[in-house]
Amino acid sequence: MKKVLLVDDDVDFCEATKILLESKACEVILAHDGKEGLEKVRVEKPDLVILDVMMPEMNGYDVCVVLKADPELSKIPVILLTAVDQAIFRTTYTPHMGLMTEADDYIAKPVEPTELVSRVENVLNKD
């Protein structure tokens, strides 16, 4: 069973998405801000992190940059999820903080549940 960490400050979204992914035989752990997310990655060592971009404490971009810079965690795939205008977020990401860290996939919210599942499976089955 694959372990997925979902980091999103929208509790309703988390709850529903958790049910969805659990139906696809994933174990789902939740965190509701960037800092908590980062702590849980370190403790839980998930197989995949799904990160919302706009969050209090620490935003998704920053969490992703930190993860990808940490040799122990950089192998964990990251999917960035955002309700911010899609075209804008594609371009603001790359030069962020001068670092060229890339997420493994980007998904624009709102997302069709079937689409989310297939993108998650895609990333999980890569290795």
Binding site: D12, F13, A16, L20, S23, V84, R90, T91, M100, E112
Partner: protein, 495 residues
């Protein structure tokens, strides 16, 4: 002003590892460096921050618009930028680049030593050029003579816009009353002093530098640009023109300042509003969609037929709202001229396939089959990913939406002369001849008995047209009422 201590470099390279390496090497030596991964990005930097790039390190192996194109553009428009090429072998392409004006070529497998031997030589060359340039200007007449035309001065004083004139060294030689109030200038503190010391704005300084350093071809490049800069509380729309002597040599620059603080506050309000819409509507909508879908899929317990029916409708309504919000945001981007965010090489076949697969299910539920025909070996195409997706999604979803009975939607992607051609053919309700010219207008929707129950914003086709235009392409429509409709989008491919 004679010797520039640190050099501003720009590295243009799509191989991230090499880009990073160059960046580190340059930073370690205390120079400033910016990076771009494509010609488009590089041009953006160069055009936005004039005078900010002294030396450009350019890969000759960029996809899309090659590095050679950039060399040719810059040789015409910004000849003061010294270009050092980079390539894997430094073979034919390096010779060609140097013939076009590159100063040197570095192999990509460089060591730090090798890198700096070459770069230091380039830096020396740049400094030398820079000094020669300044010396030759010093021989030219000073602009300060302008001050003696008394009548002229009276006219300038009556302007409601601010005016500041500098000589070629950006020393202020003249300003009018409005400029004095805008910037707090007085005869004492401003005359013959550098503009950067009198008005604190790097952006303004670089506009003056750019006007002074531009030859005529850049001047024409900037002609339709009207930057708005913030100085203190004020927002000013600025035009800076080069001032030339009889011989056509640039001897200074004149800046006109129009106070747009009020308009600018409105713009900010508008743009805040749209980011609010974007986040505050999209977030709850994503929760709604997820919650409804999970329940509909039976993941929260078995549903009765009635519950299933009602929730199914709720899901459709939610998706309708999502489309509406996306349409509004897409449309705003086009209105602001920002429909192209990033030019990159795209695999059109893959994007189309993905889009079709996403829509196939909802089409089949309506009894509509999607047939997709994609030519093999399509030529390479560079464009904006989300823009192209929006074209595909809008035209295919229209074809599905405006076919009421069982039907077929035929989607083809093919090469046609110098274009890639995307075609969507449906056998749906068709468009009345009197409406056909208006379907691309924003908010225009055809109102008949048949279309009454179909939801939509009327923005989709204006978005399609806006994006096609931004890619120098076109959209074409043919339709027979009651028989069906064909939309064709043609997008030019690069040579």
């Amino acid at each position: 002003m004679l010797i520039k201590p640190s050099i501003n470099m720009l590295v243009v390279e799509n191989d991230i590892a090499i880009l990073q390496r160059c960046r580190e090497l340059i930073l370690n030596e205390g120079h400033k460096v910016r990076t771009a991964e494509s010609v488009g990005e590089a041009l953006n930097i160069i055009q936005k921050q004039p005078g900010d790039v002294d030396i450009m390190l350019l890969s000759l192996e960029l996809p899309g618009w090659g590095g050679m194109t950039l060399i040719n553009i810059l040789k015409k428009a910004r000849s003061e930028i010294l270009i050092v090429a980079m390539s894997t072998n430094c073979g034919e392409e390096a010779i060609e680049a140097m013939r076009a004006g590159a100063y040197d070529c570095i192999r990509k497998s460089f060591t730090a030593d090798r890198f700096w031997t070459k770069m230091n030589r380039a830096i020396e060359a740049f400094r030398l050029r820079h000094q020669l340039d300044i010396l030759s200007r010093q021989r030219q007449s000073a602009l300060s003579k302008v001050r003696h035309g008394e009548n002229l001065l009276a006219i300038l004083q009556s302007f409601t816009d601010g005016l500041v004139v500098t000589d070629w060294q950006t020393h202020i030689v003249l300003f009018n009353t409005k400029a004095a109030t805008l910037f707090g200038l007085t005869g004492k503190n401003a005359s013959e002093r550098p503009i950067s010391e009198c008005i604190a704005s790097d952006e303004l300084f670089s506009l003056f530098m750019r006007a002074i350093n531009s030859d005529s071809s850049l001047a024409s490049l900037m002609a339709d640009e009207e930057p708005v800069i913030k100085i203190g509380e004020r927002a000013l729309r600025v035009h800076v023109y080069p001032v030339k002597n009889e011989g056509g040599t640039v001897i200074g620059a004149a800046g006109l300042f129009h106070d747009v603080s009020k308009i600018s506050a409105m713009d900010k309000l508008r743009s805040d509003f749209f980011s609010m819409v974007s986040h505050e509507l999209k977030s709850p909508l994503s929760s709604l969609l997820m919650q409804i879908s999970v329940v509909l899929d039976g993941l929260a317990g078995e549903l009765t037929d009635k519950q299933n029916d009602l929730l199914g409708k709720a899901k459709e309504k939610t998706k309708g709202m999502i489309t509406l919000v996306n349409d509004i945001l897409d449309y705003r981007r086009i209105e602001e001229g920002k429909s192209i965010q990033k030019i990159e090489r795209l695999d059109l076949a893959e994007i189309l396939q993905r889009t079709v697969e996403l829509m196939r299910l909802s089409a089949e539920e309506k009894g509509i089959a999607i047939k997709c025909q994609i030519a093999e070996k399509l030529p390479s195409f560079s464009g904006d990913m989300s823009g192209i997706e929006a074209i595909f999604v809008n035209l295919i979803s229209n074809a599905i939406k405006y076919t009421l009975k069982k039907g077929t939607v035929k989607v083809t992607l093919d090469k046609s002369g110098k274009d890639v051609q995307f075609k969507v053919v449906d056998n749906g309700i068709g468009i009345p001849p009197e409406d056909i010219d208006r379907v691309f207008e924003k908010f225009h929707r055809i109102k008949t008995e048949e279309t009454r129950s179909i939801g939509g914003s009327g923005l989709g086709l204006s978005i399609v047209k806006g994006i096609a235009d931004a890619h120098n392409g076109s959209v074409h429509v043919e339709s027979k009422l009651g028989k069906g409709t064909t939309f064709i989008v043609s997008l030019p491919i690069e040579e």
